[in-house]
Symmetry: C2
Subunit: 159 residues, 2 copies
Amino acid sequence: MDGARWLTPEQLRAWIRLEAVVELLPAVLDSQLQHDEQLTHFEYLVMAKLSESPEHTLRMTALAATTNSTLPRLSHVVSRLESRGFVERSPCPTDRRATNAHLTEAGWQKVVQTAPGHVETVRDYVIDRLTDEQVTQLDEIMQALLQKLDPENTLRRLP
Amino acid sequence: MDGARWLTPEQLRAWIRLEAVVELLPAVLDSQLQHDEQLTHFEYLVMAKLSESPEHTLRMTALAATTNSTLPRLSHVVSRLESRGFVERSPCPTDRRATNAHLTEAGWQKVVQTAPGHVETVRDYVIDRLTDEQVTQLDEIMQALLQKLDPENTLRRLP
DNA sequence: ATAAGTCTCTTGTCGAGACAACCTTTGCGT
DNA sequence: ACGCAAAGGTTGTCTCGACAAGAGACTTAT
């Protein structure tokens, strides 16, 4: 155990708590969305990002990037959403390799219907627990972490 | 979308970034441990908690609590660790319903061998990205969130 | 005693994501 | 033009975790 730089008690405590939050928070978000709307957090995220895009449309690659996801994962999720009528696929006219994902009217309605409850959960579990100053601090801290975690939105894996 | 309290731009930005970190950080930790030691982050966490306990032993329920996990999940993971010789199960003498999970010598060696690389990853991706002041802020913020996420503070005394 | 209820843990099933293999299209070098 | 590598997506397989159901063991009330 020696020979490695250890953590100070303060650092260790902060880390353990961050670890716990990172473990528990996704479960809470998933749980609310699953219970109220039969949606995964990630499924909601996909539709939310589409709803913010011009024409409610994005290429699969772009959608994968904004949702911090891989293409295979996204492809599966879009298939599910497509079978439920929330999203449509269409070949991209300018590049025949590419596929556009488009939010249907039903999908838009679903997002509109889902958003308030989701935001309320986010407020309840995160935002309302913090002072305005802490929200600012949180933003800065997460930004610092993302510079390493997600330098260019491109995650490469070495086998 | 109206009728619900929305988020201010500052709050929204902080949330989106927290969302990204919560999505990406577990993948990074898992990746390092999987690549270097063929361990899941959660498997490592289980063994680490055992290694910090007296006799390197904990009851399954207590272990589930300190790892923020459910009993079924833990049971499956312990089965895997047992088949790899890192953990042993034994019936609790005082309560025959209960099961004690015990870290074997091989398990202890595995933890000792794994810890430095894991800590280094934590430093690299989290601690070293932040000022001391930010570490303190992070600790306080996470503590605030855990009051809602984990009301029964699972860092209880060990039986 | 004993029956009901609770605690502790395990098992089986099912859905979701990681990873690899694959196919098609595009771009690039020569 | 042609051949090859890279980009864009999809599909199949396997593992892990969620959830529900179940089997023992302890507790309590009658």
